[in-house]
Subunit: 217 residues, 2 copies
């Protein structure tokens, strides 16, 4: 919640410069190198921020879900988006216009602050992401990802959560081949730690799952 700390009056000012954007699954919001029109806040759905190599394989930096925002850095500093953004399912988000938010940020210290904090948050996330990749085995990464997804809502512990993005995309985010993701998911199921049905995942044994995260497989 990027502007969660602002008082209502300021938030109203921001709402006025927002524009709703709807995307069908697979549609691109922007591509690497495009001029920035502003940053985005996901309302519902999922957007993957990713790079694509010359050989065509992709590296997912992060999948953003409802409530999360991305692209703030292009308001503060760069003029072009440094990666691609694509809807991984039907998605609705708001665009916060670049020129307008810059105007508001200049007028109000706190808004500029919020943007800077958001960028710092992204930096922190990337660091821990790199850390996970370097230190954790594929199975541990899958386990950690499941844990982090299932703490979002309380009832999700009971009913499980739904994967909004295709599995191949999640696999890319976790830095492994989609086949490997598939196998590791199965391994966790066979150990009785989770239940998988279609796009639903439910954690059966949270303690055991965390053991996988910490001790490897």
């Amino acid at each position: 919640m990027i502007f969660g700390s602002l008082r209502e009056e300021l938030r109203d000012q921001i709402v006025e410069i927002c524009r709703i954007v709807s995307l069908k699954k697979g549609a691109y919001l922007f591509r690497e190198g495009d001029l920035s029109k502003g940053f985005y806040i996901v309302n519902r759905g999922a957007v993957s921020l990713h790079k694509i190599s010359s050989e065509g394989d992709q590296q997912v930096l992060k999948i953003f879900s409802a409530g999360e925002s991305f692209g703030e850095a292009t308001v503060i500093s760069f003029t072009r988006y440094p990666a691609n953004a694509r809807a991984e399912c039907d998605t609705m988000l708001v665009r916060v216009d670049k020129a307008e938010i810059q105007r508001l940020a200049r007028a109000n210290e706190q808004i500029a602050q919020c943007l800077a904090i958001a960028v710092a948050g992204h930096l922190k996330h990337l660091v821990s992401h790199m850390e996970d990749r370097a230190f954790l085995s594929p199975e541990s990464r899958v386990a950690k990802w499941i844990s982090s997804q299932s703490v979002r809502g309380a009832f999700e512990a009971a009913y499980g959560f739904e994967m909004e993005a295709p599995k191949r995309c999640v696999a890319d985010e976790l830095g492994m081949a989609s086949e490997t993701f598939s196998r590791k998911l199965r391994a966790l199921k066979d150990k009785g730690l989770i239940e998988v049905s279609k796009k639903q995942i439910r954690v059966v044994n949270p303690v055991g799952l965390n053991k996988i995260v910490e001790l490897g497989d």
Copy 2:
């Protein structure tokens, strides 16, 4: 050059809140979880920002050399350093005090701006770092690293550059075992692209080196 865009008067204000810090090789500037005292600008030497896993192996986020700064995000947003910083050779840097720079940033828009831009720069660097790891072979990564190091100064094309950090540390930054780094360095030498002597590396064939970066080995 984080404050390079500021007019002299403002820079003088900042100089006043700086404190020189000297570190011997191997000494820690701060550790993960320490309360932030401010951010740092490297004057000479090299500092590695890294994480250490429970099993003891390290993941180097970046090695900072003269002129580069790090830790700005702890001024903007977090209160604790999210990684370890260690001098990889005898190093001199300046600390910009947290409370003081916050005071100046509040008083002057432009200073806050500089900090935010620096953080955004770090974010961008990490992204391209992850990209390289995902898409490039170890040999390509070594080649790219050498290229990037040797463009710093013009005369370095002729005399080569000196590695300030130990090879094992550079290897960690490039995401490979130090043995692999050693082998890849040798491979590039055997191909006649570079010359290596001790800690000096000189690029003999820049074109061929870039070919390795782009086409793999």
